[in-house]
């Protein structure tokens, strides 16, 4: 098992290294002078020249990459040309908000996806199954920003009981920062009102991100439940008189979870990507909105950093998913131990 994790880790590092070359290369072959773009048309030639030297733009590509990689390995992602601050500082400020949103939404899609999957697998070909299939079709076909707008329109504007934008009401003072996750911090500080307020704010954006994945995970779970229900071991349990409920939850659910968990890494990636859109709609002060801002301002340093950070988060999540799957499925675990 350890050997397997080690190999996966090396693979992830290799992929991240390749990704850094790819994105760095793309950033450098773009038309236009990054230093000039950063400083704007009003800067003098000397200023531009100075920044060019600072960024090593006057040297050949491999040398530029070497300098850049060296500072990244020292924990320095460079300076944002747009916010004029070290990128690591910007990340520290914005990343927790996005991770809070993404994790919440991941949790929602997990719980709702499983429940609807199990129910529609159990009540196969009934009205519930039909309804969940219809919702799945629509959910997968709806871009997350459209979901966000529909939810915003229905729950905030028409029904009016959920605040529309932001992370917390303006009149509230955010709790002292411990984890950077507002709801958790609120609970740690004992300010449950703040935590509740944060929870109210996160529900709509988190659901906007989750809808497509609830639909998809639900369908995957359903089909694997239906598959497994026809297996002999389930029939044997039923014949032995074990109550249906415990057959489902004790014996059926675990093997049926494997395909769902396997697609979760990909789901997570899409939730992060879609956060780029949903944060815009809900004015969520997070990393994705920061990313969009630096992208629209052609801040090359920050763009490269943003892509790498997302690659790194994605790599970690995939690693976790692989480990979880191997725990759920003894066959995979044993196979790896044997090989």
């Amino acid at each position: 098992m350890l050997k397997y994790i080690g190999l996966r880790l090396i693979h992830s590092l290799f992929v991240l290294f390749g990704l850094s070359i790819l994105i760095f290369f793309i950033a450098r072959i773009m038309p236009g002078d990054p230093a000039r773009v950063a400083l704007g048309p009003l800067a003098t030639e000397e200023q531009v020249q100075k920044l060019r030297e600072e960024m090593h733009l006057d040297k050949p590509f491999p040398v530029q990459y070497y300098f850049w990689l060296r500072s990244v390995l020292h924990g320095d992602l460079g300076k944002s040309l747009y916010t004029k601050r070290p990128i690591i500082k910007d990340l520290n400020e914005y990343l927790p908000a996005t991770l809070e949103l993404v994790f919440t939404s991941f949790l929602i899609s997990l719980v709702f996806g499983q429940v609807s999957g199990v129910l529609s697998g159990y009540f196969k070909n009934t009205w519930f199954d039909g309804l969940s299939r219809l919702v799945a079709y629509i959910g997968v076909a709806t871009p997350s920003f459209a979901v966000a707008i529909f939810l915003l329109l229905i729950f905030s504007h028409i029904l009016g009981f959920i605040p529309a934008v932001g992370r917390i009401s303006i009149i509230m003072k955010p709790p002292p920062r411990v984890t950077g996750f507002l709801i958790l911090d609120g609970m740690i500080a004992g300010q449950f009102k703040v935590a509740l307020n944060g929870l109210k704010h996160i529900i709509l954006p988190a659901f906007s991100l989750a809808v497509a994945h609830i639909a998809q995970e639900g369908r995957v779970t359903r089909s694997s439940i239906v598959d497994n229900m026809q297996k002999d071991y389930v029939a044997a349990h039923i014949v032995h008189g074990i109550p249906t409920k415990s057959v489902i939850f004790k014996y059926l659910l675990k093997p049926s979870l494997i395909p769902t968990v396997s697609i979760m890494g990909l789901d997570f990636a899409f939730i992060i990507a879609n956060a780029f859109l949903v944060e815009l709609v809900f004015m969520w002060p997070g990393f994705a909105r920061y990313a969009v801002t630096v992208m629209l301002n052609k801040d090359l340093n920050a763009i490269v950093a943003v892509v790498l950070i997302i690659g790194a988060v994605f790599a970690v999540v995939n690693l976790i998913v692989d480990i979880v799957v191997s725990f759920l499925d003894p066959r995979i675990r044993l196979q790896r131990r044997g090989g």
Partner: protein, 296 residues
């Protein structure tokens, strides 16, 4: 002549598949519905200048006397803030979405298939590993993020958006074709073809490629919808079709600023995006069933 035999068998097999396949496809009412809706959308988009009520509204047209009107018989989807007919603009918007999907698929599928065939068939381990690790790198970040970064670094317009998404898209096909090819690599019919002494190109295109057609076609239809979502997302952020041209994503973004009072400006373009993606997905499901049955 073994060459001709292989060619002939591949050819006849394909011919039978089409009529049989259509029969199977047409058994699924939802897929047929999807196909019908898609044909209507494509026709409407192609004929947009002739069939939309206000074709001139697709450009920089203004008429402030009719601005921000709610949906009515005169303007099915209402009008936007400068008085342009949202319905006409949605139909024109489909042109950009469909064009984007078609261009991305055309640009990214052939290189993906080629690299997948090579990686799956070659006996040189370094070539196989090399190609597949490169696809890993491209798949290490969600396509939206990489496409966003690339489009942003170029400049925001439809052409760059097409290039950026195409650059992100070939690895998926490479992987798909690779997995089919490497599983067929040691089948008897491939060995037989090798023994007859036909060229490698012939084996790849006539013996292996026909087996990839089903999964590739299914993936293409599902991807059309996916690319349209991606394009609309980029436009929504402001990195796609530039105003005054009517991009569906751009229209949703502009309309979102007018919520909730003038809801029609965002809601109808959003529904239009959903409709086209839904129809592609329904067709994709039909194709998947069709080819799945075929394999057994």
């Amino acid at each position: 002549m073994p060459k001709n035999e292989i060619a002939a068998s591949a050819f006849t097999a394909k011919r039978i598949n089409i009529s049989k396949g259509w029969y199977k496809f047409s058994r699924n009412p939802l897929s047929v519905l999807g196909l019908t809706v898609l044909i209507i959308i494509v026709l409407a988009a192609v004929l947009a200048p002739y069939i939309t009520p206000y074709p001139e509204h697709a450009g920089p047209y203004t008429n402030f006397r009719e601005s921000s009107l709610p949906p009515s018989l005169k303007h099915f989807f209402g009008t936007d803030t400068v008085g342009r007919d949202v319905f006409s603009r949605v139909i024109f918007g489909y042109r950009f979405s469909l064009l984007l999907a078609a261009v991305v698929i055309t640009l990214s599928v052939p290189p993906g298939i080629l690299l997948g065939l090579v990686a799956g068939y070659t006996r040189r381990k370094w070539l196989e590993v090399g190609i597949m690790r490169i696809t890993d790198i491209f798949l290490a970040v969600p396509p939206l993020v990489l496409a966003l970064a690339v489009t942003a670094m170029l400049s925001p317009k439809l052409l760059n958006q097409m290039m950026a998404i195409s650059l992100m898209w070939w690895p998926w096909y490479c992987r798909l074709v690779y997995s089919v090819t490497s599983s067929l690599r040691h089948e008897y019919f491939v060995h037989d073809a090798e023994l007859t002494g036909v060229g490698r190109g012939f084996i790849l295109t006539r013996a292996i490629l026909p087996n990839c057609v089903g999964p590739i076609l299914t993936k293409i239809t599902l991807d059309m919808g996916f690319v349209i979502i991606l394009g609309a997302s980029l436009s929504f952020i402001g990195l796609g079709v530039q105003p005054p041209k009517p991009g569906l994503g751009t229209m949703v973004a502009d309309g979102a600023k007018r919520l909730p009072a003038e809801w029609w400006m965002a809601v109808f373009p959003a529904l239009a995006i959903m409709l086209v993606i839904l129809s592609f997905n329904l067709i994709g499901d039909g194709l998947r069933d069709m080819f799945a049955v075929e394999e057994i």
